[in-house]
Symmetry: D2
Subunit: 411 residues, 4 copies
Amino acid sequence: MADKRVKKVVLAYSGGLDTSIILKWLQTTYGCEVITFTADLGQGEELEPARKKAELLGIKREHIFVEDLRDEFVRDYVFPMFRANAVYEGQYLLGTSIARPLIAKKQIEIAEKLGADAVAHGATGKGNDQVRFELAYYALKPDVTVIAPWREWDLLSRTKLIEFAEQNQIPIAKDKRGDAPFSVDANLLHSSSEGKVLEDPAEEVPDYVFSRTLSPEEAPDKPTVIRIAFEKGDPVAIDGVKMGPAALLAKLNELGRANGIGRLDLVENRFVGMKSRGMYETPGGTILLPAHRAIESITLDRGVAHLKDELMPKYAELIYNGFWFAPEREMLQMMIDKSQEFVTGEVTLKLYKGGIHIIGRSSPYTLYDQELVTFEEGKVAYDHHDAMGFIKLNALRLRTLAQRKKKLGIK
Amino acid sequence: MADKRVKKVVLAYSGGLDTSIILKWLQTTYGCEVITFTADLGQGEELEPARKKAELLGIKREHIFVEDLRDEFVRDYVFPMFRANAVYEGQYLLGTSIARPLIAKKQIEIAEKLGADAVAHGATGKGNDQVRFELAYYALKPDVTVIAPWREWDLLSRTKLIEFAEQNQIPIAKDKRGDAPFSVDANLLHSSSEGKVLEDPAEEVPDYVFSRTLSPEEAPDKPTVIRIAFEKGDPVAIDGVKMGPAALLAKLNELGRANGIGRLDLVENRFVGMKSRGMYETPGGTILLPAHRAIESITLDRGVAHLKDELMPKYAELIYNGFWFAPEREMLQMMIDKSQEFVTGEVTLKLYKGGIHIIGRSSPYTLYDQELVTFEEGKVAYDHHDAMGFIKLNALRLRTLAQRKKKLGIK
Amino acid sequence: MADKRVKKVVLAYSGGLDTSIILKWLQTTYGCEVITFTADLGQGEELEPARKKAELLGIKREHIFVEDLRDEFVRDYVFPMFRANAVYEGQYLLGTSIARPLIAKKQIEIAEKLGADAVAHGATGKGNDQVRFELAYYALKPDVTVIAPWREWDLLSRTKLIEFAEQNQIPIAKDKRGDAPFSVDANLLHSSSEGKVLEDPAEEVPDYVFSRTLSPEEAPDKPTVIRIAFEKGDPVAIDGVKMGPAALLAKLNELGRANGIGRLDLVENRFVGMKSRGMYETPGGTILLPAHRAIESITLDRGVAHLKDELMPKYAELIYNGFWFAPEREMLQMMIDKSQEFVTGEVTLKLYKGGIHIIGRSSPYTLYDQELVTFEEGKVAYDHHDAMGFIKLNALRLRTLAQRKKKLGIK
Amino acid sequence: MADKRVKKVVLAYSGGLDTSIILKWLQTTYGCEVITFTADLGQGEELEPARKKAELLGIKREHIFVEDLRDEFVRDYVFPMFRANAVYEGQYLLGTSIARPLIAKKQIEIAEKLGADAVAHGATGKGNDQVRFELAYYALKPDVTVIAPWREWDLLSRTKLIEFAEQNQIPIAKDKRGDAPFSVDANLLHSSSEGKVLEDPAEEVPDYVFSRTLSPEEAPDKPTVIRIAFEKGDPVAIDGVKMGPAALLAKLNELGRANGIGRLDLVENRFVGMKSRGMYETPGGTILLPAHRAIESITLDRGVAHLKDELMPKYAELIYNGFWFAPEREMLQMMIDKSQEFVTGEVTLKLYKGGIHIIGRSSPYTLYDQELVTFEEGKVAYDHHDAMGFIKLNALRLRTLAQRKKKLGIK
């Protein structure tokens, strides 16, 4: 358990029942001053109620921080990650993982400003989020005290939590008295659900779990065709309309939602060592990934593209495991960003009932050279006679191996 | 150019106009005996016409080889590759790449049996297939002479080819007189199209190019739900019906075709150095990949899964570049195969208008442990207090770095 | 702390003061039966005194296990690791890391046989060895209880330890009363020293720390020339004399010792998160590594050799971190072992005052082909005209990039 | 063969017999103007004789370029490569590989300035150097014509070369009439020898081949102790004396030479497909590598260090294969350079009869923290109780695997 002699703690506060209980528990257990930090990362909830609730729970006005981080989140976290085409375990778009470092960073900034010695979060003791929050805290403020109530307290059943809330005059919405049928995390990139009704990986995810996408069956019977413009690896416009990072991702989410795009039912390997089953909805991101790959396909050199592909799993793992602020992630990022210098141009996509179909791409920086590739003999660089030498030298070591086998009479 | 003193050459012969011209050209240019090899890899054409045409062109009966390789192709080439979740450049399922080594191997076997000193193929001088054929030839018979007519002859326009065909009494189907609007390769795994009308990557692929799939729009309005059973990483049954490798892949192709699944419009980087745009239809394979990942998701250990993911790009590149018979591909394969020991179980998928949605997976060897993952404190291995130590030691180096920054006054 | 309800514990027992104290502490704290396991891994100490001491401390005869593991250690742990050319952080030959899994495995085997429910080791709470022991325990017996006294007890100073020893009638050698000036680990592969007098990495290691090697200055003024024969990647004979694994490594140690070979002063990164400075003496291993590389240099294909080199850091890290029994280490090992099929032949080395100089290598399976490499034009596979095509296709993407720069006016 | 319509060619000209013959051959074969470029990369030959010889062979004064590139070579090529700890195939310090791109770059600069349309080099058709020169040419000037006389002409024996020289009034030194017993390449980083007397890899390299180092036996009987100071990964001073890049490397060479350091007898895998045996002398570089690793060992974070180690083989392969100007090498370099930000400090080494022994290292930016590592319980970040949680979560997946085995009754 964290050191009891804590004076001021910055709590990542959503305004919901659980973090309100944490708020009170921190006050009563540590006898410390609580500073709340509530961020809008696009989770789709208003922030003002959180402010009011914090006040109600006795937090001083100057200790209540509420911030709209949507643009910062998309510009400095989501887009850099998509430059790398990052997917964890071949499929997961890292929607939860990428939000934690930003929240942690803001908590630490507030702690530094107000001289707080501790930070607290509401992540459980079994998941990845505790790791992501805390690695970020420690990386940014090595002497900080971290309080993780779910690992410390004895409020280990719903009944006990509700009791504690009642004893402490914390308002309880009716539908929060019982256990939730699953738990949710949401931000502008995605919404994830896990636990309870989702726990048997053989059972289909029930319809009521989805919140952010129509099902493919509900989506329109006609495809939607869109054009995404990229500059240096980042999307900057849709159908010719320039947009800021958050607005653009919101627009992609809307397009994805309407077309039944972005549902993912996945069993993944947690950093803390067990497998878990999650259901993710990432409508905009699911469109963005192949679109980004498509613009890269004509603007990136092969050597660069393959190096990126080889390093991607490690990069994605670093983000998943919570090492956003580790120097090796920063090194990889620098390399990835460098590669995006000419990743500029337009991609045309067809969205249809859950599917994304690239149908065209163009760029002022294209490396696709019709003269080279055409079956007519090009005038320039490619002479098909060169292929023979190319093949023969590539074959040389294989022939030497075959010669050895022959000599040894090995089949 | 290959050594003129060639006595017997084994030609990969499709029975079509182009390889018939090659057949004659080999006879007239090299004055050598030609042996034809025609294989059924599931390309969807009958083989007997090829046999007859070879006879017509003067090939001795005992020099005409026709073989059904569908099961061998799927069992020994396609399935091993899918065990690795191989995709080239994030998307291409390697449908053409994986067929070449098998054809080459059979040509070499015939050459060894009949004492032929040369082999020939009909791949052009600009593509990857020449490399794939020839690396395989050399790896299996280091002293073989390779004849690649498209790199050697002067029949460089359609007019010249047709002239040569006419002069040599080669029958010409009416629709073969003009240039084809695109070129096609097909086998049981996929059908690919490239060239001419597909050359501008900004232009949508015209409808008439697709041959193996309905468009998502044409697909049924109701989803199809299927169960695929896996044993040691390979699919063995669909909806409880056991099938051999080729039959199973054919069934998946049928399911994919009907549901508009498996179209891919891609710009890729060729081994010979330029970018090219291709259109691929891989209906069954496109279903198989996520199904395989799904069964792996509950049966593979994280360390193994991540190692596989890190090595996959290299493995896929080896296959794409034609190094199937290289020892490093075999080393990687051995490792991948070892990993599949317990990749056994069932996956349920929903197919709908181009989309594949995993909705359940189960296995007698599952590593997914509901007791571990549940939010209720498990009785067994997981104690959430352990998380603190885990995080603190993972954070230690980051804290040390932060301490250094602090000491140096670096932001 | 481990569960108090432990009945029987298998202790890794050296017979020294520290593990004798642990023995007593286990009896008094847990009230459990203690089984001792003492192994000869070539650390250079006799085992019978350990047996007697265990008896003296009240351990039943049938609970005292003493085993000579030298051959098993070298054959199944050291040699497989050297097949991979494993070095951690570019330099460390993993001498301590590789011994822990074997000791742990034997403890678990005894636990299974005698129905013990716990195991204990004498590694401290700050090092890597606790991790290596315990990961192996858990991997082999998932329900085992692990007792790590150094993390549990309050005997945190030398004074307290000695007091406890005196109170419990544990004999104390005179030179063990004070703190040791550094701590040592030893086995047939190496001897390591760390702590106290070695803690300042700017200070030279004092002469008295070295125990297993002459200094280069003390070594003879004449070089020693030896021939090492390899079979499938493992050394099997020195100067024509066949030897078993342990005898061979002992002989190499002797040769290394005499010639001042194998001292390494290193600052390394521990798995538990901090840097530490160690001094290693690995006389035989330091000879073996370049000798193995030399025999590989003529018998391994380039593709295989480079794949091994790329995977080696990960393999070494797995061993260093204690993941010997993890499935990904086993996968890598299988691949590495496969690569060694033809790594058979002889290497001649000159040993001289700390240096190892390869002066020759030969193999019945050599891939080094003098005809290919000679400047005279070979008759066989290499035609220098092929080089042009090889270069031009390798250059193609670079030329396309340069063309883009030119078009854009970029320097 | 290159296009005959060449007007001006920039030749990499050493002033020796072979490149003088090339010079004449270019004039007579291509009827083109020849521009000579002679560079001092520290090969240890004077440049003025080359200038005079070029004049004698009819080259206009304004077409003779002679340049001292030593500082540029070391600063912009050698040091960046050592930041990566680059070694090819575990041993080779890339002394030849790293020099070619610089020479090629200068030739292209001259070609651009003087409007030359071609470049020529004197590398043979069997080696790596032709690839390195030409990939660099093409990467920097995609439309350049490359002339590689050794692949084109018919002067394939020493006799024919001498005849050609005599017919063209090229002065021939007496000792150049016969075949050289081996061929040499030299620059400030190293000297390499290969061919003829070195071709049997079982035979020891004869003494007369070495030119740049004393043998370990000849070296002094007393060790030399030196201190190398690093700034951001590059050596900047020896024993407190600041030096420019070339001067510093020259000083290290001198120290290495005197102490018998830097000889390497190696069989390596060439990019063009065969194995070759070379003898390398890299006295300064052989000291620099472990010194650089030593300063990194206290200043680099583990995550960064391990990422560097994993990428190093690829980076070294790129340089070896001639891809210095490829964008993926530049991406890797950028990442490596970023990592060196705090690689500043001093390393103390003992040089003795061929051996290099690190005996101390210190840095104002050290991450080595004596309080963390000491066996006394630190006050700060490390609590040894954390180790238990760390181990248990790392063990979790291994325990789950073991549980599965148990359930299945697998040993």
